[in-house]
């Protein structure tokens, strides 16, 4: 560091760091020189010189090619300055003696968003964000005009959170479009969006949005504090922010909800939660979150409550199956054979006859193979996907059994576990379950049911001691909140859903009516 500094000092006159600190010079020529140094080797920068008005005044327009809507620059900046002034101002010497800068900014150019900038650093930031900066000779100030316009992915339905009923829109990579999607659903001035700029180099826009009067003020302050403490060179996805701001950043359990669905964000905001989004990423973070993320899906709330509740119970059983089935099976067949009915045990014993590995190793191999197949399926080009799944199914399902490497019931168990793990509505949650499953498998291989119980207890201890932004992770199961517990196991019908789930410091819990809850 010291060496770097001394080197910087040597050629301080021209160094970009020094230039960035400077204000905009009043001479256009100085500005041009400074900007040339700043944007040296940036081949996509466009600096356009022009003269306008009478008397002729020099102007410089700077923007990055590809980030701007060129039509808008031509129509709203260049045309009014070059042609419009001449046509409209019939009188000569119109600008003479007037504040040209103010005149141009307020009367002539016509982009909707306009801001004056003072320092070269600001110029740099605006230009990099897709704005066009206009510098006028003789003024130590510039005009940043909002001309952002780049090619984006169109709004598509989110691939990872598919629902049958309900909205199909998903976020895309442009932050403004995403906030617009939320704003369209929450037509209230109480829906607040606070923005931050994170990343020393990326200068990424990060926003935090919430509904004022519902979201707890203390939590908003705390999140603001945690976000503004982040100091990193770049923020490319919401996960960068997540890892900095969660309560226990070494915990396995996910303490935020990742979602691509604006409707889900709105639903959570209405429950007093807070959403964080990052420009360039379609994933929104919702905090605080609880265990319920593992079993709830947004379309629970878009389906009639009876089938939705049954499906939620199904998901809950699938959660346990995908967590415990292989380990229970291994524990049963290698420790607790007395718990298997004789007829079933005879079949299992017959298919295990000749299998060279202990059942734990057998289960571990198959599970690992399945995870590899699953991971391969994500990365594979579409064209080879089916080929791999056929090969995988053949290798694991048939050839391995025929070769006597694994037993048929084990294949059934691993396949059932796989299916159960796909039931999980959240990819994040299913990832955690997949990791824990191997832990449980090892525990059951070592100690049978005792091992499973020990690990379950440890898992539960970890889960009850975890908080997400002050909210207990297992709420409302532990600590018990009787009024909300019914909305975990089943989907409570909307007509009795009178109160919002409790968050510490929440101002308004009434959803409808007088807010009295039937359950409490």
């Amino acid at each position: 560091m010291r060496y770097m500094k001394s080197k910087e000092e040597q050629d301080q006159a021209d160094s970009p760091q020094e230039i960035l600190k400077a204000d905009i010079y009043s001479s256009l020529e100085d500005n041009r020189q400074a900007l040339n140094v700043l944007f040296e080797s940036c081949s996509d920068i466009v600096m356009r010189d022009f003269d306008f008005g009478t008397p002729e005044t020099g102007g410089l327009m700077i923007y990055f090619d590809g980030l701007v809507n060129k039509d808008e620059i031509e129509q709203n900046i260049l045309r009014p300055l070059l042609l419009g002034m001449d046509m409209l101002d019939t009188k000569d010497d119109d600008l003479l003696g007037k504040d040209i800068f103010k005149e141009v900014k307020n009367k002539i150019i016509s982009p909707a968003e306009i801001k004056s900038v003072k320092t070269l650093d600001e110029v740099c930031h605006h230009v990099s964000s897709g704005d066009t900066v206009l510098l006028i000779d003789g003024y130590g100030e510039g005009i940043a005009a909002g001309t952002r316009g780049w090619e984006t992915r169109s709004i598509a339905s989110p691939e990872n959170e598919v629902v049958i009923f309900g909205p199909k829109e998903g976020f895309n990579e442009t932050l403004r479009f995403n906030t617009a999607q939320i704003r369209r659903r929450l037509k209230s001035a109480n829906f607040k969006i606070e923005s931050f700029v994170l990343g020393r180099i990326t200068k990424t826009d990060v926003i935090m949005c919430y509904i004022k009067d519902i979201a707890p003020a203390g939590m908003i302050q705390e999140i603001k504090k945690r976000i503004s403490e982040i100091d990193i060179d770049g923020v490319l996805d919401t996960n960068y922010v997540k890892e900095f701001i969660v309560d226990d950043n070494k915990s396995l359990f996910s303490q935020v909800i990742h979602t691509e669905r604006p409707d889900r964000v709105c639903g959570q905001l209405l429950e007093g939660r807070i959403c964080i989004m990052v420009d360039g990423s379609p994933m929104a973070l919702i905090v605080p979150t609880t265990f319920s993320e593992y079993i709830t899906s947004p379309d629970d709330y878009y389906t009639y409550f009876i089938p939705a509740s049954l499906i939620r119970i199904l998901r809950f059983s699938a959660f346990w199956i995908s967590l415990l089935l292989p380990s229970l099976y291994v524990a049963l067949i290698s420790y607790h054979q007395e718990m298997i009915p004789t007829a079933l045990l005879l079949t299992i014993a017959a298919s295990r006859e000749g299998v060279p590995f202990p059942s734990f190793v057998e289960a571990f191999l198959l599970e690992a193979m399945f995870e590899m197949l699953r991971e391969a399926g994500i990365r594979l080009p579409r064209a080879v996907g089916p080929a791999v799944s056929i090969v995988g199914a053949l290798i694991i399902g048939d050839a391995a059994v025929r070769a006597g490497l694994v037993s048929t019931p084990m294949v059934v168990v691993v396949a059932a576990t796989g299916i159960a793990s796909f039931v999980s509505p959240s990819y994040n949650a299913s990832l955690i379950v997949r990791i824990l499953r191997f832990g449980f498998l090892a525990a059951s291989g070592m100690l049978g049911f005792l091992g499973i119980m020990i690990l379950l207890v440890i898992m539960l201890i970890r889960m009850v001691s975890l908080t997400s932004f002050g909210v207990p992770y297992l709420a409302p199961l532990a600590p018990v909140d009787l009024s909300q517990i019914s909305d975990i196991m089943v989907r409570r019908p909307w007509f009795v859903n009178n109160r919002r789930p409790y968050l510490e410091g929440m101002l308004n819990r009434t959803r409808q009516g007088n807010g009295r809850d039937d359950g409490s």
Binding site: I333, S334, L346, G354
Partner: protein
Amino acid sequence: MKLLRIISLIIIIVMAGSGCSALELNDAAIVAGIGMELEDQQLRVSLQLAQPVLPGQSSSLSAPPFKVVSETGRSFNESLKKIGLSFPREPLLSQANLIILGEKLSQTDLALVADASIRSPNIRKNSVIAVARAASPEEIFNTEVLMESLSATAIPKMLKNQESQIGIYKSVTYDEFLNKLSTPGIEAVAPQVTLFNSSNGKTIKLDGTAVFKGRRMVGYLNSRESRGFRFITPGRIAGGIINIPAPFDDPGMVAIELTRSQTIVKPELQDGKIVMKIEYVGEGNYYEQTSAADIFKLENIPALETLTEQAVKGDIMACISKSQKLGSDIFGWGKLVSSWDPDLWKQAENNWDKIFPGINAEINVKFDIRRSYLTDKSLVLK
């Protein structure tokens, strides 16, 4: 990190500790039934091992799907472990659903095996118990059963089915059996299994109920007495056929199906003597008649009910007289007396053997015929 250290310490301690070790199915043999018999003053333990069969593989062509291994030793566990000298796998005793006691062992002394088998965590206490009659447990295990691959799984099924169908024997679990052996005031019984020659070759059959007195088997109940024993046992029973002679000088029989019944037994003191009051209330359906007469009429039902009551009462009395003859209190009357009047029991306990054969029983049977399988008239053949 501290938590992690503690967890790894726990895991190491638990793993180092003994008691729990994995047993792969490839190294185990599934035991379907355990047999114990006395042979030349030594215990002979026989295990019926089920041979794993893959579904879809036909087993009928090859050898029978079981093997029987036996070994003789001075104690139950010695015999059991000696099997390992000639057999490469560990027997999974915990799968055994049937325990067969040999006739000679039962008649000699059950103390030879009772402790070992109740102490072992691997012997299922809810397995069914049977006593072999005129055959050794080994022979019974070696006998093939129709429609079922193992005699050890067939016998519990047979016991269960006959209870709801014909209703003669009561299935007894090992737990109940050992409990009765060790409880004063009640003696143990167990259904008997024997071999007989049928048209399908040698096969097994349920035949009689073994009656124990103390640690020894003293005799057995025949099928009528076994039926009576089932009726007299306090509690509810269901299922079984009661055959009664057709009323009104008809040569045929009428069968009544027992749908539910309840027996309450209460001791009472009459003139300084203990009298057992047995209240039997039963319900049944008119099931069949073997004659052509129009028996099933409303006015005949009281007569049918009376005949059924007499039949039930006769079975109960046969059972009581047999058990009094054998001097074995299989009904647990002593236990009933002890909970009814502990002081009286204290006096009677020591010569209960003498008191029991002289106890009078007052038997009240009430039987109702409820339904007739939707055919409300007899099929009158003309």
